[in-house]
Symmetry: C2
Subunit: 230 residues, 2 copies
């Protein structure tokens, strides 16, 4: 009982670049990106921090690798959901929303993606297919370039969250805030009042998914108008 008999099956899986990346992603998913240090990652793998350097050059390369794994996941998802018919807006819409689904499972990814300075192959592949979709729809190269800037990070399924609503709605604190700030920030309080009123139905400050799709559709509409000038 005290000793494992079948040593050949689980003989302390050897370290590898892939295993390091998988562990890093799991750690960031579960405990947040700020918990990802070389020492803690080593600990998670039952190894000293210094051993990691046998498989990755440095922490920066771990972050690069983590992004690549996630973007590859996105590439697989969108190419699986590829349908060769329908207009380009619905194709783009579906693609972006499935990218978003994946990124929602990796809350650290947007920040890390943003901090990368070099394009990796999975990322190049993703953008190449997005550009292809727009070109096939009839956009000129210039228009396609503009479209990428319009959609921005939304192409990958995320947007900059200016002050994400705190996890706790805390209607009482909100009520106090509204009362105190009514004089100083009349327009803001008016809006906060309505949002906290709607809260009964949506349970949160605002429904991020709804807002994401609203903004996405507005941009796709604007681009569609650009493509085929009346």
């Amino acid at each position: 009982m005290a000793t494992r008999t079948d040593l050949s099956v689980e003989p302390r899986t050897p370290l590898s670049r892939e295993r390091v990346l998988r562990a890093a992603i799991a750690l960031a998913d579960e405990r947040g990106i700020e918990s990802l240090s070389m020492r803690k990652l080593g600990q998670e793998l039952g190894v000293e921090a210094m051993s990691l350097y046998n498989h990755v050059a440095n922490k920066e390369e771990i972050l690069n690798g983590m992004v690549d794994v996630v973007v590859s996941e996105i590439n697989d998802a969108v190419s699986a959901a590829d349908a060769p018919f329908g207009d380009w807006t619905t194709a783009m819409r579906r693609r972006i929303l499935s990218a978003r689904e994946i990124l929602l499972r990796h809350p650290w990814a947007p920040g890390v993606i943003e901090s990368r300075t070099n394009m990796s192959m999975p990322m190049l592949g993703y953008f190449d297919s997005v550009i292809g979709l727009l070109r096939d729809a009839g956009f000129s190269i210039d228009q396609t370039h503009h479209a990428l800037h319009v959609l921005g990070s939304r192409i990958l399924g995320f947007t900059q969250e200016l002050y994400e609503d705190s996890d706790e709605p805390d209607p009482e604190a909100m009520a106090i805030f509204i009362q105190q700030m009514a004089g100083t920030y009349p327009h803001l309080t008016e809006m906060a009042k309505q949002i906290s009123h709607d809260e009964a139905t949506t349970l949160r400050g605002c429904d991020d998914q709804v807002e994401f799709e609203f903004a996405l559709d507005l941009m796709l509409d604007g681009l569609e108008r650009l493509r085929d000038p009346a």
Copy 2:
């Protein structure tokens, strides 16, 4: 010559919260936000790092304060440029572009703003006036809320830069890249080719100001259509 006579004028200006923040902003502007450590900031002020804690609670509060200074700068600029006539799109356009002008002088600001978790008074004031502008233009509260999500960080004058083009254009490396990647990423190379061709005129990969304004105008058009449905 060796001794300063007029000691009363520059008798080693006493430390203060304001002086700490000003030095922090100057340091981040000149040497990048990654150079902003308590020890280096103290050094810049001719003081030990630990002295800073007499004027700010911790580094987090320094970052909060830096953002507040910059956002106050934006508030001053937009209220100075306030004109009570013209349609809402031109008013919003001017406001956002002058915010952008200020943020371009503080390259660290977008990242730090994004990492804040609490709204400060200057930030609340800025958003209140943006909301007021939209409400006065006739948008409903819901529409105004959507508009904020559509514009996102663009309201403050910046957007997430997915891979900012490296500072050095390096046309030779670009040519090699294009040749190597042509088979794998056909659409991307087609676009890169055109961009590096235009480079003669624009001197950079792409003109960020032009792209920012293009995206902004597309969004303002989309919102305007929403406000007054035909």
